[in-house]
Amino acid sequence: MLSVALARLSLSVPKLAPSLTTQCRSIFIQSNPKLFRSTPCLMAEPLKKKKRIDPAVLRAREERKKKKIEKQIRRLEKNSRQLKPIDELEIPPAVYDTLKQRARKPTIISHEEMEERALLLKEWSRYKMKERMNDVQLLDKMILSQQKAMDELRLESEELYQEALAMDLNVMPFTIKGPVHTPPIVNYDSPDGEYTDITKDWFQPLFVKQ
């Protein structure tokens, strides 16, 4: 079998160096020689010599890869820290899945209770309307009082009037804290301890001094 293959080869190809013919080997020696022939990998680039990499350099490479991934994680987290606009807010999926469990038994409101509620709402709207009217009257009274004072000042002296019209730049920015439910505790020992906030405040003044 093998001699037949060799003979075939010598017929088709001009007589080559003996190395080439010997290099041609059949894979299936026992079976049909019409099948595969293979040669070892000829004319390929010889394999590169594997250099020993310094373990420090290796470690540095790993570190860099880790840092890159961590940076990406931080960037994604920063996105989640920013507040979404209210229109984009959705029910958290954990809650959405358990909505059926979270439903309350519908309370049965008696007819009397419903009537009471309706009357209370009407009374409340009347109360709030009165409150609003009072507020508007107070404000108008105050505006009128200031207008009168300015008119009188102008009658007295135009110069004083102009000086009174000038803006007081020390007042802005104006902050005032509203009333609380309970008064501050005297000599309160805060469990977090006392601290003074020394963060620098960079702000644009509302009105630029000229």
Partner: protein, 275 residues
């Protein structure tokens, strides 16, 4: 001659009625006294400061407000869904019942030994009960002491001082006569410092006066000094901190202000008080 200008504010809601245009009272005065030239009369210009101590605590709710608060919380509960804590409580209850009946699994036993939701709730309630807030109600002695800044925590208070006006001492807002070269605002600042000292800190809101009051001097003073009277311009200030170092001063509520000061003076002051 001072110019007459139309005001900026053209609509007023006074006692429910609407006026088509804003009518300036001073315009009328001018028309009626057309024969008397306005310039010849001399008036003392006085700046007065109304220092207000804003309320420290919120006022008590009225009846209707209380009812509304209860109603709103009921509605909120009815329309809400159960929270995680409530679900946990229910689950714990089921495991406890199962344990009692005896048909509990290993996992249930394990869970029962851990702190239940009810335990957590009780512990939170205990912690809240232990913390004591400062009382909303004052000692009656503090409320009665007119010089105490902490009286009537839920009300607005105004600083009143007793000053010598002419021959008698009168209760009024700290004031002082304008000197040459001062603006009204500078006079106001000086009046405050003279009345209550340096330690008193307050913010005067703006250069413009908020109120006006005019009074004539008695005839002999008028003839002696040649001044018709005094025109008082009120400035508004908000108390920040500090002690008033003054002999006779009072932190007055609106009723006390009405009682201590003259009727027409109080009427002018009442115009710009927002309480």
């Amino acid at each position: 001659m001072a110019l007459l200008k139309t005001s900026h504010f053209t609509r007023i809601l006074l006692s429910g009625g609407r006026h088509a245009g804003f009518v300036r009272p001073s315009a009328f005065n001018f028309a009626s006294n057309a024969s008397e030239p306005h310039i010849s009369k001399k008036w003392d210009l006085v700046s007065s400061v109304c220092v207000e101590r804003n309320p420290i605590i919120t006022a008590d709710l009225t009846d209707i407000e209380n009812k509304m608060q209860i109603f709103l919380s009921k509605i909120e509960l009815e329309q809400s869904k159960k929270s995680d804590h409530e679900l946990r409580k229910e689950r714990d209850k089921i495991t406890v019942d199962a344990l009692k009946k005896g048909n509990a699994s290993e996992a249930d036993l394990e869970q029962a030994t851990k702190a239940t939701a009810q335990d957590f709730e009780d512990a939170s309630q205990d912690e809240f009960a232990k913390f004591t807030f400062a009382s909303r109600k004052n000692d009656p002695t503090i409320d009665e002491d007119a010089r105490n800044i902490k009286r009537h925590l839920s009300k607005h208070l105004v600083l009143l001082t007793q000053q010598k006006v002419g021959s008698d001492s009168v209760w009024l807002l700290p004031q002082s006569v304008r000197k040459e070269g001062e603006t009204m605002r500078q006079t106001a600042d000086r009046a405050l410092v003279e009345a209550v000292g340096e330690n008193f800190r307050s913010i005067v809101l703006g250069n413009a006066p908020v109120g006006f009051y005019k009074y004539k001097y008695p005839k002999d003073v008028r003839d002696k000094r040649g001044v018709e009277g005094a025109k008082v311009f009120f400035f508004k200030a908000i108390y920040q901190e500090g002690e008033a170092s003054c002999k006779d001063f009072v932190w007055a509520t609106k009723e006390e202000l009405g009682k201590k000061t003259k009727q027409d003076y109080f009427k002018s002051v009442d115009q710009f008080l927002l309480f």
